[in-house]
């Protein structure tokens, strides 16, 4: 588990949740997408964030929303697909 990565992701996810009027706490394993806390459009904002900050080319990887359901899922996805070496 990359806790450093989890910590880096959390402020952005908090921002997305706030955008959806959701100010509740969330753990690293809480469902964010499948539970409906993050909608599909916000998910695309998350995709843009990951493209810009972790150099992931989503057009060349298999992508489906449940892969980015929790903080832990997102971190695992980054570790698998990011081309940056500073994770």
């Amino acid at each position: 588990m990359n806790t450093d990565l989890h910590l880096r992701l959390r402020p952005y996810l908090q921002q997305l949740l706030t955008q959806n009027m959701d100010t509740q706490e969330f753990s690293d394993t809480d469902s964010l997408f499948l539970s409906g806390r993050i909608d599909s459009f916000s998910l695309m904002q998350l995709v843009m964030h990951l493209e810009a900050n972790y150099q992931i080319d989503f057009s060349s990887v298999h992508f489906e929303a449940p892969l980015l359901d929790t903080v832990a899922d997102i971190a695992a996805f980054i570790q698998e697909h990011s081309s940056t070496s500073t994770l």
């Binding site: 499948l34 409906g36 459009f41 992508f63 489906e64």
Partner: protein
């Protein structure tokens, strides 16, 4: 108030959760569910059948993949054999046109269905083996192209007699299942993809759907199955709560229908447009009331129907999100689209928005977002409704089928632009006000806008775009 609080926290009550893990609690839940379900459907046999399958699925966890396949396919065949779906009447129309009378309708429908299921399975195997093929890379576009090719073959004057009947029958079946198949093909490249039994079991799963997949595909199912007896009990309680809410909506819709349609004599939007075109228009405030009621009725029915389906899935132990969630609280157009028809929005997002978003205009974030939104709420919406109503081709013929769709196409374009602009505003940092006046303003603007769009979104196809536009101008007192 106390009762309401107790009811809403049922799924957190440990005594009830424990009780539902024993046979007495389960039997009581089943009886309650059947009784509630029967209130809306007025058909206790249907309730017993559907909920019987759901509870059996939940309580016999061994070989659940196979059970899903058997239940779904058995129900699919049963619907055709008992003529309780619309395939048979659609096929009968073309049989009459082609003077084919020596074969029962249900045999042709059943033949098409079996062929479709076999071809669907073969398509999954093909996409898995050849992920770089066109069908592997662009499954949605291949499926859409095939639908239109079948349409032209069945209604373009190329075929006659039994050949046309069989092609038409296959087309009707194909269009009813195409979105389920799209999810199945997309899942073939997923890590940990589900077995073919599950994929075929998700082709209109036994808990119910329309042409719209409620519960999406196998990818969501993998995450949504209750994994323990306790999780199953909680999921089923949530199903019961949703079913109770659905019955409340049913009651509300019945009362409001009586009030608007019987007491106030509010007519349908189509009737009002017809009256306007016959130079006998109703007063403008009355027309506004007609539009508001039309939109409200639409929201209530989709909420009710969706909740019944999702409640059944939850009784089966599938933790599916609700199909609509507090749509009156929508704060933006994007929010509205997300809240009112969740699974329709998900279909549009997964099959149209996401592929467009991930491939096009990657260097231009605003254009990228708007284009992808337009592909979903505009193009996807259009294609979905065109294929959903493909049966009209039998009566209308190809030319009228396309020309009569212009009004709904216009509706899709306007809706897509509104959602796209809303999306861009959010991306640019705009936040809707959370004050009471701000909420009221958002409610009036959003619901006023979608009510007005009912003029074009009505799907009867009985008036042209120009006639509907005239009606709109009249409504606002703008002389033409």
């Amino acid at each position: 108030m106390y009762l309401l609080e107790q009811f809403s926290s049922l799924d957190k009550n440990q005594k009830i959760i424990a009780g539902l893990q024993g046979w007495r609690g389960r039997a009581l839940l089943f009886v309650l569910a059947v009784l509630l379900f029967s209130i809306e459907s007025a058909d206790i046999v249907k309730a017993l059948l559907l909920l019987g399958l759901a509870f059996a699925f939940a309580y016999v966890p061994r070989h659940q993949d196979l059970t899903l396949l058997v239940f779904t396919q058995a129900l699919g065949v049963y619907r055709i054999a008992s003529s309780s779906n619309y395939f048979n009447s659609d096929v009968a129309k073309v049989m009459a046109q082609e003077h084919v009378q020596d074969v029962p309708v249900w045999e042709i429908s059943l033949f098409s269905y079996v062929v479709f299921v076999l071809l669907a399975w073969m398509a999954m195997v093909y996409v898995r083996r050849y992920p770089q093929s066109l069908a592997g890379r662009r499954p949605v576009w291949v499926l859409m192209s095939l639908a239109f090719a079948l349409l032209f073959a069945a209604c373009g004057g190329l075929l006659n007699g039994m050949a046309r009947v069989l092609t038409w029958s296959f087309l009707v079946t194909y269009c009813a299942y195409v979105w389920f198949l799209a999810f199945a093909l997309l899942d073939q490249s997923a890590k940990g993809r589900s077995s073919d039994a599950v994929q075929l079991g998700m082709l209109h799963p036994f808990w119910g759907s329309t042409t719209l997949p409620y519960g999406k595909g196998a990818a969501l199912l993998r995450k949504a199955r209750a994994s323990s007896a306790q999780a199953l009990a909680v999921t089923q309680i949530k199903g019961l709560k949703l079913l109770v809410w659905a019955i409340c909506l049913y009651g509300l819709d019945t009362v409001l229908s009586y009030l608007f349609e019987t007491v106030l004599q509010v007519r349908s939007v189509e009737s009002e447009i017809s009256a306007f075109l016959a130079h006998n228009p109703s007063p403008r405030p009355w027309l506004a009331l007609t539009l508001v009621w039309s939109q409200l009725d639409f929201a209530l029915w989709f909420g009710l129907w969706g909740h019944m389906v999702i409640a059944t899935a939850r009784f089966a132990g599938i933790r599916l999100p609700r199909s609509s969630w507090r749509p009156l609280e929508s704060r933006t157009m994007v929010d509205y689209f997300n809240r009112i028809l969740y699974y329709f929005k998900e279909l549009m997002v997964d099959l149209f928005f996401t592929p467009s978003f991930l491939r096009y205009f990657k260097k231009y974030p605003r254009i990228r977002m708007f284009f992808a939104t337009f592909m979903a709420a505009g193009v996807g919406n259009m294609v979905y409704h065109f294929l959903r109503d493909i049966d009209l081709a039998a009566d209308m013929g190809l030319v009228e089928l396309f020309t009569s769709f212009s009004s709904y196409a216009f509706y899709c374009v306007v809706l897509a632009c509104a959602i796209g602009i809303s999306q861009l505003r959010i991306s640019a940092g705009h936040r809707p006000s959370s004050t009471l006046p701000g909420r009221i303003k958002a409610f009036v603007l959003i619901w006023g806008f979608v009510s007005l769009l009912q003029i074009f979104g009505d799907e009867t196809r009985s008036h042209t775009l120009a006639e509907r536009m005239e009606f709109l101008f009249y409504l606002f007192g703008i002389p033409l």
